[in-house]
Amino acid sequence: MFIGTEELTHIYSPGTPFACESLQRVSFGLEKGEAALLIGPSGSGKTTLIQHLNGLLKPDAGRVIFDGKPLEAGDQSLANLRKRIGLVFQMPEELFFSESVFDEIAFAPRNLGLSETDVQKRVLGALAKVGLEAGKFLTRHPFHLSSGQKRLVAIAAVLALEPELLILDEPLAGLDYAGQNNLIALMKKLKEEEHLTLIISTHHLEEIAALAEKVVVLYRGKLIFYGNTEQILCDKRQELIDIGLALPEITEIIHQLQAAGLPLSTCCYSLAAARQEISKLKEYIR
């Protein structure tokens, strides 16, 4: 197990009338290079779990395991860990504070105490990974970019740490279709070419489901399902709907066709897969 939790419990405002058990004995594990989607209704504990995964919160019980060791073992300082575990917050561009894209991305590498030459290498490397042209963007004011570009700069600012694990909290929120597609392609590239381990919390399963092997489902602070994407999205469809989640519209269309008696066998969560599945119906056209 590369990253995961064992019986992790978190209580907000313990000992007050507002005490709220946000995570209850949550256990899951992910191997290096895998990608997992973290899904669950609002308030189910997704963001709390994410904040535990890079040590921003301390467990009230249980623990987080990273690279074979508990997160708070003495020999792994948190500062060290955060170089290896990159966290992209929800709406990360709202944390921008620099006057140029360069300074924004350079913030973390400078804090690592790298030389300015190495900082520059890290910035250029990170910008290239997210597909933004250095010549066009380095001197731009981050506040003046489009939402899609801001999101990419915010992700580059985390990639500049060269993490092994990248955690993204609702990375697609607020992006247009092109921006979402672009970001899904970027995550796929980071996984396949840079071999990053990914944990992505999302309410939006369209197309993104196709890049993750695993799905973690949280509900009211409990991990209720954990397994392969197909297992969860296909076999647990009704259970997910019952707790207020929605499957991708494309999955629902295929499901409704099946329910209407058409001979379709698999469940699909991308347009391409649905098209292929439906093409099997050609021989039945009246």
Binding site: S42, G174, I285
Partner: protein, 286 residues
């Protein structure tokens, strides 16, 4: 006959430019002409950076046009002494609820605008309870907003605006951070306010399925109106949407793909239900 004019908001050749510290100009809106009727439900679609948020900000005088003018109930937003009337007419819901939550409990936050309107305490109590009930926030009224989930926070922000009973609500991607249930709740609630209270809505969204629910759809591209009309008409024009970097509904996208594969479906399908029905009647059930 009502003496009130039928047009609530009009933009007349409205333009807006952002400038940076070097006085470099970034045009965001370019000569937009648009009228919004009393009680109308208008959806605004467009790629990131097309000017959607800027247009909303012009409508409640957070921004003043660089050229042209914007009239709210016939009052120009240039009239600084009428700002209060304009902002009471047009309530604004931002993309991120953290940007507009001010109080330490949900009920105080909902009451904030009402207190500023100097309403009697019993009326405030009444309105807070009514909107909380409508949005499913009753159990959370005493909770501190910073401990709520993103979806619950967004509903709190919406409740604060709804409670003031504006004539128009400007919604900037209000569902971007919500889970499917929260999204449905919010869409149902704003639809209800539109139908029962005749509150006009201007709903910025990236989700074509949401835009389909409006009375009229306006598509912005590079600061100009690229298309305007009934949602069915615009959302079934995939060529136009793709050219602008947008997508059609999942049903329309899938229909276009399988039509290429030889399934003779009608070209103007844009709802999943229509696709399922058409495909079932085309294919012989085995």
């Amino acid at each position: 006959m009502s003496a009130e004019p039928e047009i609530l908001i009009s933009a007349r050749a409205a333009s807006f430019n952002y400038t940076d510290q070097n006085d470099k100009i970034y045009p965001a809106l370019d000569g937009v002409n648009l009228e919004v009727g009393r009680g109308e439900y208008l959806a605004l679609l467009g790629p990131n950076g097309s000017g959607k948020t800027t247009l909303l900000k012009l409508f409640n005088a957070l921004l003043i046009p660089s050229a042209g003018e914007v009239l709210v109930k016939g009052i120009s937003t240039f009239a600084a002494d009428h700002l209060f009337t304009i902002r009471r007419t047009c309530g604004m819901i931002f993309q991120n609820p953290d940007n507009q939550i001010v109080a330490t409990t949900v009920e105080e936050d909902i009451a904030f605008g009402l207190e500023n309107m100097a309403l009697p305490p019993s009326e405030i109590r009444n309105r807070v309870d009514t909107v909380a009930e409508l949005l499913g926030l009753t159990a959370l009224l005493k909770h501190p907003p910073h401990l709520l989930s993103g979806g619950e926070k967004q509903k709190t922000a919406i409740a604060g605006i709804l409670a003031m009973r504006p004539e128009c609500i400007l919604l900037d991607e209000p569902t971007a951070m919500l889970d499917p249930t929260g999204r449905r709740d919010v869409l149902d609630a704003i639809r209800l306010l539109n139908q029962e209270e005749q509150i006009a809505l201007i709903h910025v969204t990236h989700v074509p399925e949401e835009a389909a629910e409006a009375d009229r759809l306006v598509v912005l591209d590079q600061g100009r109106i690229a298309a305007e009309g009934p949602p069915q008409k615009i959302l079934s024009n995939l060529a136009l949407l793709h050219q602008l970097g947008l997508r059609g509904t999942v049903a329309a996208e899938l229909t276009a793909l399988i039509r290429q594969d030889g399934f003779l479906l009608p070209p103007n399908i844009f709802l999943s239900r229509e696709l399922v029905e058409s495909l079932c009647s085309l294919v012989q059930k085995s």
